[in-house]
Amino acid sequence: MTPIKIAFLPLTDCAILAAAKELGIAEKHGIALDLVRDLSWATIRDRLVYRQVQCAHLLAPLAIAVQLGLSQHKAALAAPFSLSLNGNAITFSRQLAAGLAGKPSERIDQPGATVKNLSDALRRLQRKPVLAVVHRFSSHALMLRYWLAYAGIDPDEDVQLRVLPPPLMTGALASGEIDGFSAGEPWNSSAVDAGAGEIVALGCRIWESGLEKVLAMRDDWATANPEVVDRLLLTLDEAATWCDLPENRQKLARLLSSDSYLATPAERIERALFGKIRLTPAGDTMKVDNFLLLHRRAANFPWRSQALWIYSQFLRWGFLEHSPEAERMASGVFRSDLYRRALAGGPTPLPSASLKLEGSLSSERGVSSDKGTLSLGPDRFFDGRVFDPAKIGEYLTQIAS
């Protein structure tokens, strides 16, 4: 048995790790998996960087930020497996949501119209609303910024962005300390159930294929332990396949609801797993496709183009200056080579490319893979823009205009 310690945050998208351990999949592959529950991304990052754990459940942008030296100690990381696509939402206080037009489900269906509505509501509000995100380098923050900017709302000037840990969001919303937040599940549902807020936008409707969490490890550890990395990825692939099947989802929700993971009622967790989202305390509920992707449509494949999209957003918001070296380092965190090496010959089809246009597929489509056709998409951004990883400069000019 090879002992591996993985740090994680109690979120619905730690599902694959939990399943790998609890269903005995890790054990079958000779891995004694020790999952270390933490409460802040800073602590998970430190555990990983300072060798207290071998791997971490990490925000994809944070993995890139650590590699680039933007978040405390700089360290070379490798992210060979993506743990989830989508799964986030934006929740507003009932007061702020009341300023938006449309029925709750219409707001979700029309993210562009909703944020333009918000822009009008902000003018009436006559103060800067406080919007919380879980981390500066989180997919939530990048998604919220992307959405706000569409309506001409400058996320650094027109609103006050704050970082708040997810478990404190509901309380802060109820007390009026914040006006809204963007977080993963089950925290939006938790705010709705507490009567503190309404879900006004879903990550999967802002970007239909938004990368969320990755499995990150130190590059030196990955290099020194190739055989262990392969077994770990085989384990996660098998666990992800299990998690993906609708008939397993109820069991998955029960497993995640226990005190060692989310300590949240299974019913609340099921909403994200079945894409049945309760939007308001009044009970408006909506069925959405692709709310959280754990395996199908190459969800686990670490696309370098997605790393580059994150890099492009870092440039857009002034987190760093462009340099060819920084671009190379950012895309280099995502190790499609390790994914391919570990899963070659397995049942999961491997895409033949490591980069793709992001946002170009309006529906599910077959692309070439090593085992016949692999389904990708839909992956559109709500504003219809397409990101070409070979033309980052052009993309940024377009998006700024």
Binding site: D46, S71, Q72, V163, P165
Partner: protein
Amino acid sequence: MVEEGLLEAGFRDIVRIAAHGAFVAELERQSPDVVIFDLGSPSRDTLEEVLAVSRALARPIAMFVDTSDEQMIGAAIEAGVSAYVVDGLKKERVKPVLDLAIRRFNAFAAVQKELEEAKSALAERRIIDRAKLYLMSTRKLTEANAYALLRGTAMRQGRRIADIAQALLTAAELLESNPEDEA
């Protein structure tokens, strides 16, 4: 615990702030040289964001005392403590602060554990005492014989005496309860 230790070591200017609500504003007012933070607190992400953008705390801040000293950082993470240090403060001055914080955190954790162990030991002894009393009154045994009976049963079943005592008390309660009450 950390505070006491720092006071003893001659650091006088210590302010304790609870890490929720408006703690960031308070932190800015205090404008500290070193921030010692509990790694188990979810508010660490909030603190780091403030350190990154705040005007009052706008000087560059390094996490931990010396990021090249991995052993020490390991010890700090293990103990559950992190320190944020205002750049420019001499490392030699800060290292003992963190050293001390780590020692105190560890000592605190150890004391907690002992307390819990002591508490559960006490609770178990009470259960065993009650089981002995029950046997003494129902089977007319002496205290020593009652205990010997519990111990012998525990040994035969490969279980702990406290577990046997608890099982006995539960059974006794069931037998004595009036079925009518449950209806």
